[in-house]
């Protein structure tokens, strides 16, 4: 499978990656190279082979349905890139928000 510049631009948009125009062509070459190399998997007959999604054969454990944490808003907001906003300045573990650019006029 060979990818062209447009296909790479489409994948980049799906992945939410800004890729400068001049990088699209070299990327198309690299990605096509990787995909061509991967094509060799088609030599293998996998009819009736159950796909393996996990190496552990145990069923995923379920925990008791109860609250195990909370009240750590300040910790959760500690690395907020736009800074955190609190409703109550006196109680930083009760509320608080991440900030993002304005999206509605």
């Amino acid at each position: 499978m060979s990818l062209d510049k447009d296909a790479v631009a489409r994948i980049a948009r799906l992945a939410r990656l800004k890729v400068p125009d001049e990088e699209l062509a070299p990327l198309a070459g690299e990605l096509s190279g990787i995909l061509a190399w991967i094509e060799q998997l088609n030599e293998v007959d996998t009819k009736n082979v159950e796909p393996m999604s996990s190496v552990s054969d145990v069923t995923l454990p379920q925990r008791e349905d109860k609250v195990t944490d909370g009240g750590i808003a300040e910790k959760i907001l500690a690395n907020a890139p736009g800074g955190a906003v609190y409703i109550e300045q006196t109680d930083k573990n009760a509320g608080g928000f991440f900030t993002v650019p304005k999206v509605v006029e």
Partner: protein, 490 residues
Amino acid sequence: MAALTDLTLTALKAALDKKEASAVEVAEAHLKKLDEHRALNAFITETPERAREMAKASDARRAKGEAALLEGVPLAIKDLFCTEGVQTTAGSHILEGFVPQYESTVTANLWKAGAVMVGKTNLDEFAMGSSNMTSYFGGVENPWKKRGDNRKLVPGGSSGGSAAVVAAYMVPGSTGTDTGGSIRQPAAFCGIVGLKPTYGRCSRWGVVAFASSLDQPGPFARTVEDSALLLQGMAGHDPKDSTSAPLAVPDFAAAARNTDIKGLKVGIPREYRVEGTAAEIVALWDKGIEMLRAAGAVPVEVSLPHTKYALPAYYIVAPAECSSNLARYDGVRFGLRVPGKDLIEMYQNTRGAGFGKEVRRRIMIGTYVLSAGYYDAYYKKAQQIRALIARDFKQAFEKCDVLLTPTAPTAAFAAGEKMDDPVTMYLNDMFTIPASMAGLPGISVPAGVDKDGLPLGLQIIGRSFDEETMLRAAAALEKAAAFTLRPTGY
């Protein structure tokens, strides 16, 4: 007594236990080494103050008679493990300045066992790479050099910093993570021991995720017994990681002290004799077979027919999981934010500027193979191949107890080599990826040097959750190979 920094982890623990040195003295001796060898660029963040505090607390516990398994032992931590209050970058610009508010389970286990953190080590960005050249913080230098050649060599990757600091005697042990070979390959390049446990042996909670069905933390050390002891401190069931195995932690160090392999069946997979492997590595592999035979083991030829498909299948599975895991870096809740005219553009700008070339490449491959219409052709196909690879190993282990293979197809290469074509770099992991795909434990043991004097490693692969037999074989190999060289100047 030898210098504190020359001791193995086991010997250092004994010296501390006999009160021949305090944890504070041990920490200071190693911090001095960090100062001396800073040019290797092996650390992203050094934590001398934290080390001194932890060492003091360790001495206080010992004075009260509360010494734990790794009491007072200084360790370096791959900068992929979240450490509370200490910057954790994953080698990426997008996480520069990120200060976790919680501690990963593996590091928490180590601190509970009394270990002391000296710093966070450099790595390929998000653990994606085999040379440490993809780190945003610059490549790490391998302490080893070719004889009569002053060029800088790579330490391997992705856990290159963690391997280099142990090889350079800056610490007796460190942590790494292994997705497709990221512990074993750098261990081979740096002439030390690197152990990838069975998937599920160590908790992944608090480890920055790359490919969740493959990622597994493990130790680096200079001896097999040291790596076993460290694994003992790291491992254990963790309810916070749903894939963590609910098993008790065996006495791994005791298993590594037993070098009796009489009658042990050592499988030699014929498909690992492939073109592109350095002749000296093939010769070393043959020598390793003879060493184990001389020690009483029985080599048996086995077949792993789908070996050659492990690497391309991995380059579907790992990028697919990476594209999904790395979707969280959007500039909203943590990490870098690059503004844009709207939300979508902010995401795109942030991720475009925050991720390096190799990470972007893998996210795009992953996005493509998971996209509508291609899922069956790529991801499902790769998962089916993965099932066949796991079945190969299962059948081989009906005929043998462990497998012996080379760790990497070459010795350490120069910085900047193999960068032209991504697939050339990927081939570095051809011997380590199959076991990763099957979730099996593997350990690299330094077993010789090439004509340039560079270390070479051999890999022992064990059955699922049978690290003990693997360690016994590795210890026997270590004893027979008697690798005692160290890099000049370290």
